[in-house]
Symmetry: C2
Amino acid sequence: MENKIYVVGMGPGKEEMMTGEALSVLDQADVLIGYTVYLQLLGERFQEKEKMSTPMRQETERCRLAFEEAKKGKKVALICSGDAGIYGMASLMYEIGKNYLDIDIEVIPGITAASSGAAVLGAPLNHDFCVISLSDLLTPWEKIEKRLIAAAKGDFAIAIYNPSSHKRKDYLQRACDILLAFLEEERACGYVENIGREGTKAVTCTLKELRNQEVNMFTTVFIGNAGSEIINDKLITKRGYQIERDTNICGNN
Amino acid sequence: MENKIYVVGMGPGKEEMMTGEALSVLDQADVLIGYTVYLQLLGERFQEKEKMSTPMRQETERCRLAFEEAKKGKKVALICSGDAGIYGMASLMYEIGKNYLDIDIEVIPGITAASSGAAVLGAPLNHDFCVISLSDLLTPWEKIEKRLIAAAKGDFAIAIYNPSSHKRKDYLQRACDILLAFLEEERACGYVENIGREGTKAVTCTLKELRNQEVNMFTTVFIGNAGSEIINDKLITKRGYQIERDTNICGNN
């Protein structure tokens, strides 16, 4: 593992939801680098490992730290929640890696919230889907809005990450209002809180009801496509064996 | 596990890319049901287990088989490649489950090709993205076309599943032609073959070049968004730390 940094997706949090590959990389690492909350989620198995962290929003510093530790000859694993390549640190590592060309990067995939949340809720992403983050820290809101509209027009099932935070309390409501301009109020939806951690909570509802739900930064939201149904309190998007009803929402495409 | 069927995502194929949870469920199962190719990918660990299968395209029969075996009191694991809830059997199980209300269903998520392929290629899905299958076995081609257009207009990164098969040799070419009406020829793209199996092959290229690549049913294709770049032969979609260049492709939204 010399002169190579592993960027590791740890999945939703529980060790049993990590892959064998990810566990093996962490076992072999000299130092585990990550956001403090994720490092804490790692259980006893990694208690003795050296751990290093930078605060939230100091992701660039965290990546540099990983390269600097690797330069010292340490085997470094940079840990991300979910999948390292889905809103994770993988791309930033490759960008910063331009300055550390003698150090290789390998991404170890993990279970992202779209997969783990969908499994709790039923099968909401069982056909073509989009993943959209409502966080406008790194993306202009206009771009997020444009993507919500495109997703609705394309009749995609949608997984929404980061639907809310302390500073963005009404963002899910704003997103639902945008979607409601294209989709029916009764569209089948749902959300999952604390996936793969203590206190997992799954709720199915209509799009109109979703608009008024209280969600937080640990919630993943799912919007069905035109053929999605709630069956026995599970949100189900069909594979396409049935003929989906025509939604007529794409007339201007 | 009585009266409960586990619908298990096995990831791309290698045992080390399965989660501990998935392995544990398979360990405890009496019978493993799945498409023959996936059953064969399971290694020695499960050699002694009873295995049952139905041919390709007989997915409905496979689900019924799972319920019938569970009714006999067996602990059943229905196995899908990748994630069971992403083009997998999860939603069909819930639909057929309407006729077997005394049997519970639990979905165990796995690493889907969007995650595992992205990890091989770099970080192509490190911002909002769409997953689209080009298979028109269960979806009208017009719907696929509509989704490709929506994905392009929304400036999503795109993962394309099932880009080709014996009967659909030119489908990736057709998809590229649709995208090229909205995206520049130089758009950063890539594809991965045989992810997590023998003979993994990763290629980066432009959208124009992608149009003429030979791909097969074991290929996953990735189209970057407007800000994606190829860095040291890796396809990188930025998290958004940089201001993305304006693409002006969405004037009619």
